[in-house]
Structure formats: structure tokens, C-alpha cells
Symmetry: C2
Amino acid sequence: MSTLLTGNAAIGQSGGPTAVINQSLVGVVEGLRAGLCAAGFVGQILGMRHGVKGLTKAVSTPTGIGDFFDLGLVSPERLERLARTPSAALGSTRDKPDQAYCERILGACRKNNIRYFFYIGGNDSSDTCRIVSEMATRSGWDMRCFHVPKTVDNDLMESDHTPGYPSAARFVAQACAADSLDNRSLPGIKINVVMGRHAGFLTAASALARKHDEQGVPVLDRGFPDAAQLIYVPEVAFDLDGFAADVDAVYSKLGRCQIVVSEGIQDKNGKAIGAGLIKSGQVDSHGNVQLSGSGALGDQLSDFLKERLTPAGGKPPRVRADTFGYVQRAWPDPSCVDSWEAREVGRFAARLALSGAESGSVAIVRTGSGSSILAGRGGDAYSSACARIEFAAVAAKTRHMPPEFLKGTNDVSAAFVRYAAPLIGTMPVFECL
Amino acid sequence: MSTLLTGNAAIGQSGGPTAVINQSLVGVVEGLRAGLCAAGFVGQILGMRHGVKGLTKAVSTPTGIGDFFDLGLVSPERLERLARTPSAALGSTRDKPDQAYCERILGACRKNNIRYFFYIGGNDSSDTCRIVSEMATRSGWDMRCFHVPKTVDNDLMESDHTPGYPSAARFVAQACAADSLDNRSLPGIKINVVMGRHAGFLTAASALARKHDEQGVPVLDRGFPDAAQLIYVPEVAFDLDGFAADVDAVYSKLGRCQIVVSEGIQDKNGKAIGAGLIKSGQVDSHGNVQLSGSGALGDQLSDFLKERLTPAGGKPPRVRADTFGYVQRAWPDPSCVDSWEAREVGRFAARLALSGAESGSVAIVRTGSGSSILAGRGGDAYSSACARIEFAAVAAKTRHMPPEFLKGTNDVSAAFVRYAAPLIGTMPVFECL
């Protein structure tokens, strides 16, 4: 399979946008230009409008590229600005193609002479790549499909972490740090609801809001956390009574309590705590209940605590809930590591195509632990590399927080902090009296 | 009244924290040290714990400062870090003192030999200053009281704007810009609920999310807004039918719609739209209904639109709501103008004390329009100065958006953009395909 194919390349973006998904888009374009375009194998670089949704409707005209974006014509200066722009510049989609839909995708590829198919997205997108790739092989249409990883949920198998996660984690850590100072100033019980669907990685990043020393290095294991005193992730069964007892214990001791909760927390039977609460109960095309874009889970937990923690004859404690919402995935101050790696996974996918590699996905492998962030000069510098993996390893699978990242039922471990701290970039250093 | 008094100084922080309120605290401390402390008039600089709440409970011990923070002993390096830390470092309070409470405040001042009283806060805090000051005069206790302005709501009379507002406005503008790209990527109807109580200034800052040119300069009046297509502030009566019609018009045209709504929007009878919706209806000690710390208003408007805009026999549009919450007032990336001015109002208050001025408040006056931000080199650079004003001009009063800042029932004017753009600092420049 080392023959290079001659034809067009198409690139699409899918699923929830991130702060750095356009870095990956630009990485693929750069890689193609320098490689397959320069060598004359790829003619046009077609940008799908809203992913496969646009692709299946798009037709190239004889004189131009029709309904596609012509990515081959964008100047390097504009590409560079695009790379630094959050959210999906091509437009995204939540369509999850079934067999019939994938037939239409393949039909569009044939019609537009697409021989290289790049799809930037999460586990559903890698599954789309897998189906289309298998279908193309069976039907005798020579085409290489590459899945480029992206998700703030950090829930892709095989990857140390996924592009998009470090920047969202950076937002969550900074937001919880600032909010913790707010809660120290006007003490009460504060609930913050964080994205991540069924994986707790993004919620866990709130632990990085805890004390940093004067060099901005997280301080580990020094008694009671000064921020995010309670952290609840979907990997641990959520129990309302236990929750109330946890909050009561912290609030009684400190007179305040900052709680960070995943939108996807579930009870011991796997039933989402949020799902039962959301009135309109919208379900997307993946069959998932709407978890984001509503304050319902936070408000319900807030009402529950006010009721449960009101002393007999007394007044309820001050309880507030914030749901961080869409800004956490698109905040325009990305982690440097994330910007760099997101660009690199795009370039790497183009390089795979240039090397004649078979269809597949890209994973990030950590090659330097980054322990220097916590240990000072004695530790390893952080570094990473890209690797090609088979679709089967990642498609439609969900990675969860491993047990060693958890601590009891309401916290994350020092191992998680060591894992995540090198990814998010410098944290502001705060001073307290 | 030009005699300088000899005794201690006390400083307190009150109301909702901001990203730069500690700049003001440090400004007062620096000013006192360089002036009244150096000249021997002020002995101790006492930091009240949680404002007047702590003051009324605090007692200096013969050998130390008892329940106060000893601000005179904090090193310049630590003060500098403190200034850059968001939220109220001394702790804040929502207590709104009545006559009897003010008697206790005055009692605490006498007991601790406080001759200079600095209170950093909003219009309620300036009223506290006024009452305490009048009471001190009547009772023959020589004491100068200075109110140092602070509020993200920007609702203090006499000031061009208030410290805290530019940084919160910066957050809102950046959040709406990023969120607008998100909504462009996965199109739908998106509601963002913004703080500000009964003033619309902070919500209006969403207009700064609109297109900026390659130098980061807001582009005015170029047809349909590319972000924050609909902006609702409390100064304009909110009508649900009109709201639905506005959204329908934008959504029909663009296939997406970003709406920004003040938490304090009210109907034509002055009834808060939010108030009726909030289940637990908490009321603070100022008699105000809880507007923040809940997603109720956004979710209710979201449900309303889903119901109203569902075509007969069709499925509801994708509607999402985010409530920006407490991070908007404490986000650790303040506007440079704001950091500088917040420090300056603190220093100015200390300088008033040093000059033997009578009790009063501080206002920010704009001395250079900042039109250069929009007009390029041809315009005026932005500049501002501090001025002493009487308590009567600011205490317990609320400033609202003037009519020239409004445009119709659902937008703000170019005059508002010219007013606010010089305050928030550089916006990231985004690129679209």
C-alpha cells in the first residue's frame, strides 16, 4: 500500500468545536501543500462545509470547487490567523452517519475525485472514517481516510490526551481558581458544572486550581484543598446522601465549599443525574441526552443542598451554581502545548498520506513526562509525539478516568495533577492575606 | 478642614468582588504609607475582615492589631502580587448597615482609634460611608471617610465608568466573540445571560464581540452584526412576544442567532423577568432578589423559545442557554486600563486624606476620549483622572444606560461602542472562511 493516489483531498470538522481545532485544520492543509500538492498528487484541497453534512450535498462545478471551501487558495498569513481562531472554521456537524449516510459520503467522494479524506473529530468521527474507509475498499474506490483527533472531553482511547482538552482544562482550572477566591471573599456553597460527557477529565482539571507556589507550580498534598474541595466525576457513582454529607463536612469546617461536578455524573445504576432533571430532554442524533447549554443540573443540586442543609428553624445556607457552558471549549486563550500539538496532529495526518500509509487515526503519545513542571529542574521536560493507530482501537469507544487518577469518591489523585499540569500552561499566581 | 488627624486608618471591601478590587486596596495602602504614615499621622493600617461585618466584631489588643489584617506590615512584593489577584483579599460582605449597625461601626472606630475610614464598594457602600461619616460628625468623633468606587455593574453616578467594569466587560466581549464562532460552527439559537443587576452596561459590552479588523479595532455599522445579534438590557422594557419575533427574524435569515440578555431585564411594569422564575427566590440583606448563581432565567427563556418557535408538526430549533456566572467578575485576565485605574482610585483616596480633604467619594473622569482606538492615529488617546465628589451625588443611587447608548429595543449604539472599546484592552483577532 505504498502507492500514492492522485486526486483531490477533502477535510472536514465534526462534533463540538474546541479552541484549537483550526490548528489541526491548518496543519493538514500545510502538510498537504508541502507534500502531496507540491509533488502533484493532490490537486484541490476541498474544505467540507459542516463536515459530512455539507460533503453529501456538495458538488464541484466544472470551473471551480462548487460548494466546498477552496483551502488550497488561502494565503499562509490568513491560515495562521485561522489557526489561532477558536471553533470550527469550516463549520461542524453532529450528524452521526449510518450505512446509508456513509454510502452518500462515498458517492460524494467519487463524484469529486476525493482520494484523501481527513476528518477532525472525536470517537464518533473516527467511526465515520472507519465505515467510509471500509466501504471504499469494498467498492473498489481507492481512497485513504485519516481521522485527526479532537475533543475537550479527552475520552479517546490510545491517546495520552486529545487536542482541545488542555485548553479547556486551562479554562476550567483558571475559572475554578478565580471562583474559589470569590467564594472565599463572600463565603457560601458554590457548585460549578463542567463539560466532559461521560468522562471526568475536564472536571478533574479543577484540581489544578489549587494552590500554586510563587513560580506557578502546583503544590501537591498539603492538607485540605484550598479550592475545589469536592470533585465529582462520572467514573464514580454519585450518591445524593453522600454528596450532602460531603458538603456538610467541608462547609462546617471552612464556612464555605467549592464543588465541581461533571455534567455527566450518574448514579450507581448508570443513570445520568442530569438526564432526569432536564425538562425538555433534547436528544441529539447520537441518541445522547442534552447535557450542555442548560443550567438545570447545577440549579437542581443547588435546590437540593439548600433544602437538605437548612438547620431546623434556621435559614438555608447561601448556595450558588454556575454551569461553565460553551465558553470553556472555545475560550480564546489556549494552552501553548495544545495549540502546538493540535497543529502537529494535522501535519502528521498529511505526512501519513504522503508516506502512502493505510487509512487510520492519529494518537498523541507522551514521550517526556513533564515532571519538571512539578519537580523543578530535577524532572523530565514534557514532550510528545504522534503515532498512527488503527480505527478499531479508537472508533466509537470511550476512555474514562483510570482508577489511579481518582481519590476516594470526591477527589482526584496527585497522579492526575502530575498528568494534567504539564498540559495547561502557566497558571496565574495569586496571593492571599 | 485642612487639619490632618492622628490615629489609625481602616480599609474594607464590600459587595461583589471584581478582578481589580485588590488593586484599589493596594493603592490605598501605598498612598497611606507614602503620605500619612511617613509623616507620622497614621500609625496602623487596619484591614477589616469582611468589611463592616468584621469591623464591628474586631478589637485591637494592647500588643497588636487583634482581629484586623495588619496591612502596614505586608511587603511591597506581596502587595504587588495581591494587587494582581482577583476578588476581595480582605473578604467582603453583603451587609447593608442601618442606623443601629452604623452606630456599632462608629463604636468600633472609636475603640480602635480609627481616624481614616476607607471603604471600597458600590453605591450601597458609599451610602454606608455617608451615614458613618455624618454620625461621626454629630457625635464629635473626628474621622474622615472615603468611598473608593468598585462595581462590575458600572452603575455609579458621576463616574465615566467604575473600576471592575472594564475587566468584566472584557470577559463578556471575549466570551461572546468565542461563543459566536461556536454558534456559527454548530448553528442554533444561543442565549447568554450576563450580570449587571438593573444596569445594562455589562450586557452591552457583548457588542464589542462584533467584528474587529486586523489591528483589533471594532468595525462599526457594517450591516447585520456578526455576533450578539440581539442585546436586551434592563433599561428597555422586555416583551416576550417582541423577543420571540426578534429571534425568529434573525434565525430565519441567518440560521443562527446569538442573544445576550441582562440578568435584570424587566417588563414594562418594572417587574424583573428573572424574579418570577427563580424557584427559591432568595433575597439578600439589601432586599434584592437573587439574580446570579442560577441558570433559571436562561433556561426559562430557552424553553419559551423552543415552544414558541417550533413549526407546526416540526421539531423545535436547537436552543441553548449559558449564564456566564461568577467567573465574569473574577476572571484573572483584567483589562490593563482597569488595573491601572483601580490602583489609581485607591491612591487618590489616600491622597485626599493626606490633603486634609473632607469625607467624600472618588469618581473617574474621562479626559481623553480614546477615539484613537476606533479612528486610528487621527483620534484622541484615552486618558482619565480621579475627582472627589460628595457622597450625596453617588450614595444609594443607580446609574443606567443613557438613551444615546441604546439602539431600538434590542441593540446598543455606535456611541456605546466608542465609549466602551477604549476600556477593555486588546481583543483577539479572529479569521473566518
